[in-house]
C-alpha cells in the first residue's frame, strides 16, 4: 500500500507537468520571444541595431550608471550591515525597515520624488539652476534615481548573514590587537564575501535594468540621457522592433548571466550563504 504522505505516481507526474507548463508559459516564452524577435530578420540587422551610435551611447550610459551606483551602494550596504548586525542600539528594527523602504515604493513615485527635489519647481531646483548645476534630465538624476531603487539589496543580503555569523571572530581579532579596519578587512569581509557578491549581482542587475524611476528623471534625450531600457522603449515606440528587441536581448543576456552566477554561488557556497535563506 502506498504511504498516505506522498501522492500517487500519476498525481505527481500531473503536478510536475502543470508546474513546468506554467513556468514555460509565464517565464520561458517571454524570454524566448526576446531573442526570437531580435534575430527575426537575421543576424545582420540585429548587429546593425545594437551598434547604432544611439544604442552604443545607451550602453555606455548604462555601464557608467552601474559603475557609480554599485560600488557606492556596496560600501553603504556593508556599513549598514555592520552597524545593524554587529551592534545593539535602540531603533535598530526601525532602521532595518527604513533600509527596506525603497523596495515597496513604486519606481515611478521614486522618480517623481527627485523631480520634486531637483526639478525647476523643486526644493533645490532654482538654487541649482542659479549655480549652473544640472541634475534633472541629465546623468546625475539617472544615477541618483538608480541608487534609490537599488539601495536595499546589499544590506538586505548581508544583515541576516552577519547576524548568523555573530561577533566571536571579530572579538577574537580585536582582543589580539587588531584595529577596526584590520578586523573588517581580514575577518569580516572574507566571511561575508559570497553574500556580498550575491548582493552586488542583484544590485547590478537592477541598476542596469531600472526603467520606471529613470524614465521619469531622464528626459529621454537620445544619445545623451537614454539608458538601455529607455532606448528599448524609444525604438519600440518607433516600431523599430528589431532594434528594440536587439538592445533588449543584450539586457536579457545580462539577466541570464546574473541568474547563472547566482545559481553557481548557491551551488558552490551553499554553506556560506545558508543564513540568507535562498
Amino acid at each position: 500500500m502506498r504511504a498516505a504522505t506522498t501522492e500517487s505516481r500519476g498525481m505527481r507526474s500531473l503536478l510536475i507537468l502543470l508546474a513546468i507548463g506554467w513556468l514555460a508559459l509565464v517565464i520561458l516564452l517571454p524570454l524566448g520571444a526576446v531573442f526570437a524577435q531580435a534575430l527575426a530578420k537575421g543576424a545582420a540587422p540585429f548587429w546593425h541595431a545594437v551598434t547604432q551610435p544611439d544604442a552604443l551611447a545607451s550602453i555606455r550610459l548604462t555601464l557608467i550608471t552601474a559603475a557609480i551606483v554599485v560600488p557606492v551602494n556596496g560600501v553603504f550596504g556593508i556599513a549598514a550591515a555592520w552597524a545593524v548586525a554587529k551592534h545593539h542600539f535602540r531603533g535598530r528594527d526601525l532602521l532595518v525597515s527604513l533600509i527596506d523602504l525603497p523596495f515597496s515604493v513604486s519606481p515611478v513615485v521614486a522618480g517623481l520624488m527627485f523631480v520634486l527635489l531637483f526639478g525647476a519647481n523643486g526644493w533645490f531646483g532654482p538654487w541649482l539652476m542659479a549655480h549652473g548645476v544640472r541634475i534633472m534630465f541629465a546623468v546625475p538624476a539617472i544615477v541618483i534615481a538608480t541608487a534609490f531603487v537599488t539601495f536595499p539589496y546589499v544590506a538586505r543580503e548581508l544583515i541576516p548573514l552577519m547576524v548568523a555569523q555573530g561577533r566571536a571572530e571579530e572579538e577574537a581579532a580585536l582582543t589580539l590587537g587588531a584595529n577596526g579596519l584590520q578586523t573588517l578587512w581580514h575577518v569580516t569581509l572574507p566571511n561575508i564575501r559570497w553574500g556580498l557578491l550575491y548582493g552586488v549581482l542583484l544590485t547590478n542587475a537592477r541598476a542596469m535594468g531600472e526603467f520606471g524611476a529613470v524614465s521619469v528623471v531622464s528626459g529621454h534625450i537620445r544619445g545623451l540621457t537614454n539608458t538601455m531600457p529607455l532606448h528599448v522603449e524609444v525604438l519600440y515606440n518607433e516600431y523599430n522592433f528589431v532594434g528594440a528587441f536587439g538592445v533588449a536581448s543584450l539586457l536579457a543576456a545580462l539577466a541570464l548571466v546574473t541568474l547563472a552566477a547566482k545559481a553557481l554561488l548557491e551551488w558552490r557556497h551553499r554553506d556560506a550563504l545558508a543564513a540568507i535563506g535562498h
Binding site: R12, F76, K86, G122, V232
Partner: protein, 291 residues
C-alpha cells in the same frame, strides 16, 4: 591584555555586558554613514512628496487625488495586482511544492528560472509579453480566433503582473515547505486522513503565513509596477491606464500637483502594505516560537 572575562568577579556580568556592547568598533562611523545616505537618498525625497501634497490643502488634494480618472486608475492597479497575486498564490504554491517534494530531470535549471522576473529588466519583459499576447503573437493569435483579447486590455495588465510576481510567492513558500517535517503528515495519515484532508487540514495551515506573505509581496510589487505593464496595457484612460502611468502622464503635462497627490496615495498604500507584511511575519514568528 587580559580578557576581562577572566578578571570578572562575582556579579560582574553587567559590567561584562557593557564591555561587550562597546567592544565592537565602528558603530558611530557606520551608523552615521547609514543615516546620512538613508536620509539624503530615501527619507528626504519621501518627505518632499508628503510635504508637497500636504501643501495642496485637503480639499484640493482630494479633488486631484480622487478624480474620476485617478479612481479608475487605482481600481485597475489594485484589481489587476489582486488577481495576479491570487493566480501567483495558486501556481507559486504548486511550483514551490513540486520543487521541494519531487525529483525530476533538470530540476535545478527549472528552479533557477523562477528568479528570471527578478533579473530581467521590466521594459524587456513588457515588450516580450506584448509580442506574445498581441493578436499576431504566439499565444495571442490562437486566442484571437476564439475572440479573446489579452494585449491592450486589463487582462494584459494581469498577465504582466503574473510574470513579475511569481518569484515572490515561490521564494517565500519554498523554505517553509522545505523545513516542514513529515511527522505530522504521517500522524494525520495514520489516524485515517486521506491525502487531500492532510493537505487541507495539516499542510495548508502550516504554510498559510508564508503564502500570505508571498501574496502580499506580489500584490505590493504589482500595484506600483510600471515597466512591464505599459507596453501591454493599451493605456486608455478609464479603461487600461494604471496609476503609475497616470503619474507619468501628468508629469509630462507639467501637472505636478496631480502627479504628487496620486504619488502620495500610492506611497500611503506602500507604507500600509509594509506594515501588513511585517505584521504577518511577526505573527508567524511568534506562532513558530510558541510551538
Amino acid at each position: 591584555m587580559t580578557p576581562p572575562a577572566l578578571l570578572a568577579p562575582v556579579g560582574a556580568s553587567r559590567r561584562l555586558k557593557a564591555f561587550r556592547r562597546t567592544a565592537m568598533p565602528g558603530l558611530g562611523l557606520t551608523l552615521g554613514m547609514t543615516m546620512l545616505w538613508l536620509g539624503l537618498l530615501v527619507l528626504l525625497p519621501i518627505a518632499a512628496v508628503i510635504v508637497r501634497s500636504l501643501g495642496l490643502g485637503p480639499a484640493h488634494f482630494a479633488t486631484v487625488a480622487f478624480s474620476a480618472r485617478a479612481l479608475a486608475a487605482y481600481r485597475l492597479s489594485f484589481g489587476a495586482a489582486l488577481v495576479a497575486a491570487a493566480v501567483n498564490g495558486v501556481f507559486g504554491l504548486l511550483i514551490a511544492w513540486v520543487l521541494v517534494r519531487y525529483d525530476f530531470p533538470a530540476k535545478r535549471l527549472i528552479g533557477s528560472l523562477v528568479d528570471l522576473p527578478f533579473a530581467l529588466p521590466t521594459a524587456v519583459a513588457g515588450i516580450a509579453l506584448t509580442a506574445i499576447y498581441a493578436n499576431t503573437g504566439l499565444v495571442g493569435a490562437p486566442l484571437a480566433v476564439l475572440g479573446i483579447k489579452i494585449a491592450y486590455t486589463p487582462a494584459g495588465v494581469v498577465m504582466a503582473l503574473v510574470f513579475i510576481g511569481l518569484p515572490f510567492v515561490v521564494r517565500t513558500v519554498e523554505p517553509v515547505l522545505a523545513d516542514l517535517g513529515k511527522d505530522i503528515e504521517e500522524a494525520a495519515a495514520t489516524l485515517g486522513a486521506n491525502r487531500l484532508a492532510v493537505f487541507r487540514r495539516v499542510l495548508l495551515p502550516e504554510i498559510a503565513p508564508a503564502l500570505m506573505t508571498g501574496f502580499a509581496l506580489a500584490f505590493a510589487r504589482g500595484v506600483g509596477e510600471y515597466g512591464s505593464v505599459i507596453f501591454i496595457a493599451g493605456n486608455m484612460p478609464f479603461h487600461s491606464e494604471i496609476a503609475p502611468l497616470l503619474i507619468v502622464t501628468q508629469l509630462e503635462q507639467f501637472d505636478y500637483e496631480g502627479a504628487t497627490a496620486i504619488a502620495a496615495v500610492m506611497l500611503a498604500l506602500s507604507f500600509t502594505m509594509l506594515v501588513v507584511i511585517n505584521l504577518i511575519q511577526a505573527r508567524e514568528r511568534r506562532w513558530r516560537d510558541n510551538r
